[in-house]
Amino acid sequence: MRTRRTTLCLIVLGALACLQGCGMASAESAPAMAPMAPAKSSAGAAVTHEELAQADAPAPPPPPPGEARPGPAKKEAPRAGEPERAAGDGKAEVAREHLIVYTATITMAVYQVQPNLALVERIAKESGGYLSLRSDNQITVRIPRAKFDAALGAIEKIGDVLHRDVSAEDVTDQYVDLEIRIKNARAMQTRLKQLLEKAAVKEAIEIEKELARVTQELELLEGKLKLLSDKIAYSTITVVFAARGSALQSASRVRLPFPWLQQLGLVNLLQLQEERTR
């Protein structure tokens, strides 16, 4: 009887220990997902989730038009008068949102291109964004992700939209992976520095070589994380003023076999032929 009780107790304890272990593992492997802000830390320094959460992060962006954001429940910014949840709240940890990079490409009819390019740039600046690239018939702007939807709507109103392509890429895994690699690289760097202090001259040369390699890798990873943070914080909208072209068009629908349709347009109409001499 005693043996049975002891066995039962051991099983229960074992199960509890397993559960605790799982919980810890998940807490460690699922890092805190705070809304991303543009990397504003000192140059070269990696931006961690905690730093991003502390920074003046923009509110989470609305889901792209016509679709709900995938993933777990969003962590919404606290409304006025509503108390913010405690940072240590376990539920809040689970409810961290996915990190998504929004990109939109809009093809517009070739009409009033220059005024419309200026208008797109103005909309971006008014939304707190900035101009990334501008050419004769194309413009790329970066918009804070909280204002992505509104800015996209405003841009679409300025002309005749021929084609619209909005994509949302979930980069949570990529971000977490980079963070872990940076953490490990930092730990390695610290350890190597400690070893260097105690090492003899011959060993010190080897350690310095390794330290240089680790430092270089760390800088590279931090750069990638900074870039990714910027992509998350600022959505990209590209507006192209051009015909979709026959290649794209043929992919989307059948090209009608009426030659007179291709002859329509200003070029043929305005090209007047010489009259015969009377």
Binding site: Y111, S252, R276
Partner: protein, 194 residues
């Protein structure tokens, strides 16, 4: 003074031979006239607005009618024979897709219009930049008597807007159906030859 009464002589009937000759001559003349009607002219009527001039020798460009203002507002009409395979809605949609997707024109509006003879049509208003300057371009389409009538107008935007009334006037003057008494007799091939 004496009065002479001439007896009334009945007129002599025309010789049979002459009557026989007159009938074929009349027929031949009618046929020649009809063929002349078929051979020349165009299957629509349009009035050129004051301030515009109709251009000659434009058929090589595929247009049946072309007129221009001194500043360069151009209007034109072309006729597509035997295009009764589809109704107006099909052609309207095809033109809009062609102009927007393939040529990159902005589609501003599609308006219901009626020709002078009461034929319903559609006017599609487009806009496009040429050499960095905005242009307006209208395409009006009518389907009548197995043919498709395409009326076009285009010019730089400010110029077009100044001449908008003249363009509308010309387009409204377009007749795509025959209104003569001979039309039922001469059937569809000759009906629209004015």
């Amino acid at each position: 003074m004496s009065l002479r009464v001439t007896p009334r002589v009945p007129s002599r009937p025309a010789p049979r031979r002459a009557r026989r000759l007159a009938a074929p001559l009349l027929c031949a003349a009618t046929v020649v006239l009809a063929m002349a009607g078929v051979g020349c002219g165009r299957p629509f009527r349009i009035a050129t607005a004051p301030g515009f001039v109709e251009l000659d020798g434009q058929s090589a460009t595929g247009y049946d009618y072309r007129a221009t203002s001194p500043e360069g507002v151009v209007m034109a009409v072309k006729v597509l024979e035997d295009e009764d395979r589809a109704e107006l809605g099909f052609w309207t949609k095809s033109i809009v897709l062609q102009m927007r997707d393939v040529s990159g024109y902005a589609h501003l509006a599609t308006v219901d219009v009626t020709s002078l003879d009461g034929t319903p049509g559609k006017r599609m208003e487009f806009a496009h930049d040429e050499d960095g300057k905005p242009y307006l371009y209208w395409v009006t389409v009518f389907a009548a008597q197995g043919k498709l009538f395409i009326a076009e107008a285009g010019a730089p935007k400010p110029l077009f807007e100044r001449n908008r009334a003249s363009v509308e006037w010309t387009m409204k003057s377009l007749k795509v159906k025959c209104d003569t008494l001979v039309s039922p007799v001469l059937a569809s091939r000759t009906c629209h030859r004015w």
